[in-house]
Symmetry: C2
Subunit: 208 residues, 2 copies
């Protein structure tokens, strides 16, 4: 059985975009299973006294972040546009992603949303933009919107966010391994995958 | 002529330790000249409303940072001990580093201080610890202490810190290239070195 890494992402997060666009390839190369888990950073930031993204709270950090993403995207041949509205409220996108997961389309839908937002600069909290993302993945938009408003989907997102905070997450993207290690940032993806494989091997060895 | 990268470091910074222990090797492999430039993060944090390290202001981030460093240090075969006092006031160490630069020993002295602090867990704001670091590099401790209290040394450190802030620095380690690009974090060292080489090559090409 392949080791599993949980991929914690937030739809408003620029660095999550970098990871969303490569995690499936990297994980399959490494032989690791990825469990996509959307959550909301808003409540976590609020509990640290921030009412918006730290990139807005600390402008020098915000300016740097944009330049950092531009350079990394260029190295990877990835388009990048900073959307006018930042950060968006990722609530609807996250609920739709959970609804899409029930039909096996969470990754495809999430990629479509990140693409709309950070390739074309669209507002991914907008219903029309999200509907286009749903249909572009071949999903039944009306059914998905209805599903996303059901109580169990709402509860699942709340649980993801509570679990994120309980696991010590404070930013996105983050990765957790089966033995509870936390890795933060697109630049820790490779290390998280290596860790998951190492951990699996040593678990197997200790049983042998 | 080799391209130059300015290496901005703060003696209290755990991630600066990671870079201090490898930057000379990495840079010489890449064919890049490094200019070591100590500065103080305290005044920069103060202007963001923090009276201590963000790792103390945000405990989840602080706990993560220690675990992150432990894992990276282990991968690199580097010892790591989190000192009891964190962050230290790096003022004396930074002035001594500038004084040591006048006799070509800035790198050696800085490595000794980071080693004392993060390998042995000592308090690198302590005069006795710093004196031992000076003598371990073959420096005349009394002369260095006297030199470190002269006005031009004090002014040089103030200038470094002002320049850091003017350049948009908000953390350490940071790297700047001759064309003014800013890179933040030990995990951006390789990218900064690549950038410096690319930039130099394109400057040469545009003159040819």
């Amino acid at each position: 059985m392949k080791p599993t890494v949980v991929f914690w992402y937030e739809f408003a997060s620029t660095y999550s975009y970098l990871t969303v666009m490569r995690i499936d390839d990297e994980a399959s190369r490494a032989g690791v299973e990825i469990e996509w888990r959307p959550f909301l950073l808003g409540p976590i930031f609020m509990s640290q006294g921030w009412t918006t993204s730290p990139f807005n709270v600390y402008p020098a950090k915000g300016r740097y972040m944009v330049r950092d993403i531009v350079r990394i995207a260029a190295e990877r041949g990835l388009p990048f546009t900073m959307p006018e509205t930042f950060p968006i409220n990722g609530l609807k996108a996250a609920r739709l992603a959970i609804a899409a997961d029930r039909v096996g389309a969470q990754g495809a839908f999430s990629r479509a949303v990140f693409n709309a937002q950070f390739t074309r600069g669209l507002d991914a909290s907008d219903d029309g933009v999200l509907t286009t993302c749903l249909t572009s993945c071949g999903l039944d938009a009306d059914a998905m919107w209805a599903r996303s408003n059901e109580d169990d989907v709402k509860a699942a997102l709340r649980r993801n966010t509570e679990q994120a905070q309980a696991n010590g997450l404070f930013g996105a993207p983050s990765f957790t391994t089966e033995d509870g290690e936390l890795f933060w940032g697109d630049d820790r993806l490779d290390q998280a995958l290596r860790w998951a494989i190492m951990e699996k091997n040593s678990a197997v060895a200790s049983k042998a």
